[in-house]
């Protein structure tokens, strides 16, 4: 073994008490950093998974779209198909999906239940690599090929012109008007089923009033059949976001070639509906874009913004929302603040530890001048003395890093073994979990090492520069 390493290790052992305290502080700091980071990663993953069910990395929408419309009924993006194609062409590896959204209301007049609203997302079960609803079904089933997705006609509604200064009034009925018509299949969030147990159950049919346009007050009544319940991991989302086949929504919103005509009754209004429609798959409300998975996930927010910038340059005239915009919209900037605080508090503690290491070593060197002087008399070069103290820093850093990682792994295992979970809405529970990625481990290991080596470098330099005579004389004084 290298003599400088040997002597350094001896020093660490000799001062094991004070170095031990420093190691404990650093490793606990790293433990809390790792736990917080791993928990944040987990929460990010949860939010990521669930929000991306409806948002993906980036959403492209009409210029008068606001982020709130994502939950409601957006305005149509006329050339959705063309934009989706362009993105996939210009950004290889990026996936797109045209989505239609609508706002629904249900439970009006139901005994013992209040009316509630849902945001219906139209998904294409065959061509939607973005939503991963299929794997989230907890009861019932996902869409099947022979599901009655299409009616072949638009839903029925009647639009009554407001007489005089009264506004127009549109009414749709959810009743099945044709006997042989089957209801549209729909997948509902598990939380909604818990909130409205008498209305929502797999196999039940439900009348929905759908707002069909973002601009006008036009409503259509439809009947849906609940084929499955899903659980995304975020109970709040599961209370409001439902899924229908995108073509069903296109039909309901009239995105296609409508050939029938309306009956206009003077003085009353317009009866509309049952118009034969051939849906146009190029039409939709928004285009979702999924970027390729980044190489690492240390900064998902930064990555999200990066992706947004790229998309903006391709569709400069449209609204582009990043996943992070959406996150901020639903959760505020809390996540960002917490992340900042985790790093900030760690930086402060580590800085203090670094300063402590420096001062402890300074005082050790002061006590050891005679030893340093004798080493120099025995032929030790400045570099060797420097290395003795630098190695001490390295050892402290390595031990602190490794201990920190071990302790946090133990804590994480204890938590998951004990099964901690958080109370969520409607009696649902959100498990507390951790996701440790290799960047977190690398940071938890390298940061204390870099820190303590840096902190040790200053006293090490001082020790190396001691004049041997001074060192020997000073030592004599202390006897």
């Amino acid at each position: 073994m290298d003599i400088s390493r040997h002597l350094a290790w001896g020093e660490v052992k000799e001062h094991k008490r004070i170095y031990g305290i420093i190691i404990v502080v650093i490793s606990l700091t790293m433990t809390s950093f790792m736990l917080e980071n791993a928990y944040l990663n987990y929460m990010m993953q949860v939010v990521n998974d669930t929000t991306k069910i409806i948002t993906a990395d980036v959403i492209i929408a009409n210029s008068d779209y606001t982020i709130r419309d994502l939950y409601g009924t957006g305005c149509e993006l006329r050339n959705a198909g063309e934009i989706a194609d362009r993105i996939e062409r210009e950004l290889p590896g990026y996936e797109t999906s045209i989505r239609v959204t609508a706002q629904g209301t249900y439970g009006i007049g139901a005994a013992g239940e209040g009316a509630d609203a849902c945001s219906i997302q139209g998904i294409d079960p065959l061509d939607d690599s973005i939503s991963d609803i299929r794997s989230k079904i907890v009861e019932g089933r996902f869409f099947k090929e022979d599901d009655p997705i299409l009616r072949g006609h638009t839903p029925f509604y009647i639009k009554i012109r407001g007489p005089g200064s009264l506004p127009d009034f549109t009414y749709g009925t959810g009743q099945r008007l044709l006997k042989n018509e089957k209801p549209y299949p729909i997948i509902v969030g598990a939380t909604a089923a818990k909130l409205h147990p008498s209305l929502i159950k797999v196999g039940k049919t439900l009348d929905l009033t759908i707002s069909m346009s973002g601009r006008e007050t036009s409503y259509a009544g439809i009947t849906v059949k609940i084929i499955g319940l899903y659980e995304s991991g975020t109970p709040t989302l599961d209370a409001i976001v439902w899924f229908m086949h995108v073509d069903s929504l296109r039909e309901i919103k009239g995105y296609g070639n409508i050939t029938g005509r309306d009956w206009y009754i003077p003085g009353v209004g317009t009866f509309r509906g049952f118009n034969p429609i051939e849906i146009d798959r190029k039409r939709g409300d928004v285009v979702l874009v999924k970027a390729p998975e980044p190489f690492y996930q240390l900064d998902p927010i930064g990555y999200s913004e990066e992706v947004k910038k790229k998309i903006c340059s391709i569709v400069p005239n449209l609204k582009v929302f990043s996943w992070h915009d959406f996150l901020v919209y639903i959760a505020g900037s809390m996540q960002d603040v917490v992340t900042l605080m985790v790093w900030g508090s760690m930086a402060v503690t580590l800085f203090l530890c670094g300063a402590t290491i420096k001062y402890v070593m300074d005082s050790i060197i002061l006590r050891k001048t005679r030893e340093i002087g004798s080493l120099k008399a025995f032929g030790a070069r400045d570099r060797l003395i420097f290395k003795i103290f630098l190695y001490q820093g390295l050892f402290i850093g390595i031990i602190a890093g490794v201990v920190g990682i071990i302790v946090s792994v133990i804590v994480m295992n204890l938590v998951s073994w004990y099964g901690l979970s958080m109370e969520f809405i409607a009696g649902t529970q959100l498990d507390i979990g951790f996701i440790v990625n290799w960047i977190t481990i690398l940071v938890a290991l390298l940061l204390p090492i870099i820190l303590s080596v840096l902190a040790a470098a200053f006293p090490a330099k001082k020790a190396a520069g001691l004049s041997p005579v001074e060192a020997l004389r000073k030592g004599e004084l202390s006897l």
């Binding site: 003599i3 040997h6 001896g10 052992k13 000799e14 005679r370 030893e371 002087g373 004798s374 080493l375 120099k376 008399a377 025995f378 032929g379 030790a380 070069r381 400045d382 060797l384 004049s467 041997p468 005579v469 020997l472 030592g475 004599e476 006897l479």
Partner: protein, 241 residues
């Protein structure tokens, strides 16, 4: 063994001025001196006369303010810091008044230390350390920690340590300063035995006249100047009473 130079150390008009807080102290005042290979030199003088300063300069631990020190014919004012370290490691051995054993190391490890610092093979160094411990009569304590030994024993370990790299000169600053009479004489006997048997040059600083009887040359220092330089024909051998 390398080519033998004589004199092994030569001081030419060496002065050392300390300048602390504006007051100048002339610790060494124009000293010229030659020491031959195999000599056993005692440097004596009252406290503050510059003995340690002279020893430090000769041991390349300090540089003189003016003048030149030649060791084995080499002008030491012209060599780099790295070379000075090599020189100290390979050619010089040091014995201090307060032994300076590294407390957490064992006796054996302490003796091996200068060998390991010079990057020598561990096995060889260990073997040589044992031999030296046997010669200094302390091998039975090889695995004990240095600080658990008595002063006399510690100094014997320090002497073994000074010899580990086969130095041509051993410099000792008051090696018996912290010891009682019996132990002092023990140590001086040991040094003089090594000097005779190994032909290692010894320069021993002391202010004790009993100690300066050892060796074949006595240099008296006063106020940084050599006032006497006595070479003895017959080396006196100490007889135990």
């Amino acid at each position: 063994m390398s080519k033998s130079y004589d004199p092994i150390i030569r001081l030419e008009h060496v002065s050392k001025v300390y300048n602390e807080y504006g007051t100048k102290v002339l610790a060494l005042d124009d000293i010229s001196l030659e020491i031959s290979r195999g000599e056993f030199v005692s440097i004596v003088g009252p406290s503050g006369c510059g003995k340690s300063t002279m020893l430090h300069c000769m041991g390349l631990l300090d540089r003189p303010s003016s003048g030149t020190i030649y060791i084995e014919g080499k002008d030491t004012s012209k060599i780099s810091g790295k070379e000075i370290a090599l020189f100290r490691g390979y050619r010089l051995g040091f014995v201090f008044q307060n032994y300076n054993l590294i407390p957490r190391l064992t006796v054996l490890e302490n003796v091996m230390l200068p060998g390991l610092i010079m990057g020598k093979n561990k096995k060889d160094v260990e073997h040589r350390a044992y031999t030296l411990l046997r010669e200094t009569g302390i091998s039975h304590r090889a695995d004990h920690r240095g600080i658990h030994l008595s002063g006399g024993e510690q100094q014997k370990v320090a002497i073994a340590r000074a010899l580990i790299n086969n130095p041509v000169i051993v410099l000792a600053d008051e090696p018996t300063g912290a010891l009682d009479t019996k132990n002092s004489l023990d140590i001086m006997n040991l040094l003089s035995k090594i000097n005779r048997e190994k032909r290692v040059t010894f320069i021993v600083v002391s202010h004790d006249n009993n100690i300066s009887r050892y060796g074949n040359r006595k240099i008296l220092l006063k106020d940084g100047k050599i006032t006497e330089d006595i070479k003895k024909k017959n080396r006196r051998k100490y007889e135990h009473t």
